[in-house]
Symmetry: C2
Subunit: 187 residues, 2 copies
Amino acid sequence: MRPSRTSREEILQKLSQVFRRDGYTGASLADLANAVGLGKASLYQKFPDGKAQMGAEVLAEIGRNFDREVLAPLREPGPVEPRFSKMISGVRKFYEDGKLSCTLDTLSLGEAGQLYRHPLAEAIRHWQETLTTLAREAGFSPARAVVWAEEVVISIEGALVLSRAANDPEIFRRAVKRLGKRLADSR
Amino acid sequence: MRPSRTSREEILQKLSQVFRRDGYTGASLADLANAVGLGKASLYQKFPDGKAQMGAEVLAEIGRNFDREVLAPLREPGPVEPRFSKMISGVRKFYEDGKLSCTLDTLSLGEAGQLYRHPLAEAIRHWQETLTTLAREAGFSPARAVVWAEEVVISIEGALVLSRAANDPEIFRRAVKRLGKRLADSR
DNA sequence: GTCTATAATAGGATAGAC
DNA sequence: GTCTATCCTATTATAGAC
């Protein structure tokens, strides 16, 4: 079949913005439909299982985007440092310089946490694993590589939370900047 | 007037558990009343402005508890290292070893983020300031002290998010353990 | 102070017209 | 494919009995 005028990717993009800002419970169907620019009934045409399906597909779509825009550089051939730098600028873009929250955060609260348990855990595992592989290439010991990867992910998630709670994206920008410098020091 | 059998502090404690697990929107009055062990109408007797007031008072109460159980050691007299260690075990207790989320996270999403903008920002400022003072005492340069304090808070928040999303409190425990060792190294 | 009952509204979801 | 209209349930909130 032929793709519709606004592609599914675009729709998921719009939906994800609402989920990232308001969380799963906080995102009403009215909000979601409004963000997409359709009536509620039309959304149900595209997502017969409703909000739960929207959340699941948003999570999957974000996972694909994240892998492509953030993790892909880590798997490229070549020297380690520039690849990590690329990931860092990928991260900055992906979270719009600290203005967007992470779905690992906003879709892991309350009922959503139960609903998306597995995809959430998978996403984290994938991210950490990719970072760990890079750290190994950079000469870290196996144990040190695992710790470093975990700390990188923690720093990014923590900086996003703090930026949102303090209403100050600078916190995220500073944290990411420091991360960019820390690969060499950590070995 | 005489204090009621279950004190307000106890009530706020129960309420906070729900907000921390489900977020502001995710916490229904039914849930909240149930956690306290009262009917909804009785809750309104104690919080005439409803959920918004409950959230505000929970935030204030958590702030007081956090200051007493986590930050107070940082202000004690004596050598720096054991005071930081005390804060670390305070943190572990406060978040029940990674099983409880932080209200900075769960009450900063969506509408709640607007509602509690100022108290959230204040809480963060207070925490960071207390840590910065300690770092100064430990011999950090002013600039280095500020960065270190920010990184400590980021690590704790990030570890809590990751633990929740991955459904693995071990992430939090490991992160806190590493933090405990990092005061000396960071100077 | 706490409860039952109930209002009023919002939220998730569906039917059926176009 | 999208809309209007509608249903049902959950949710916030209040009235009034005990």
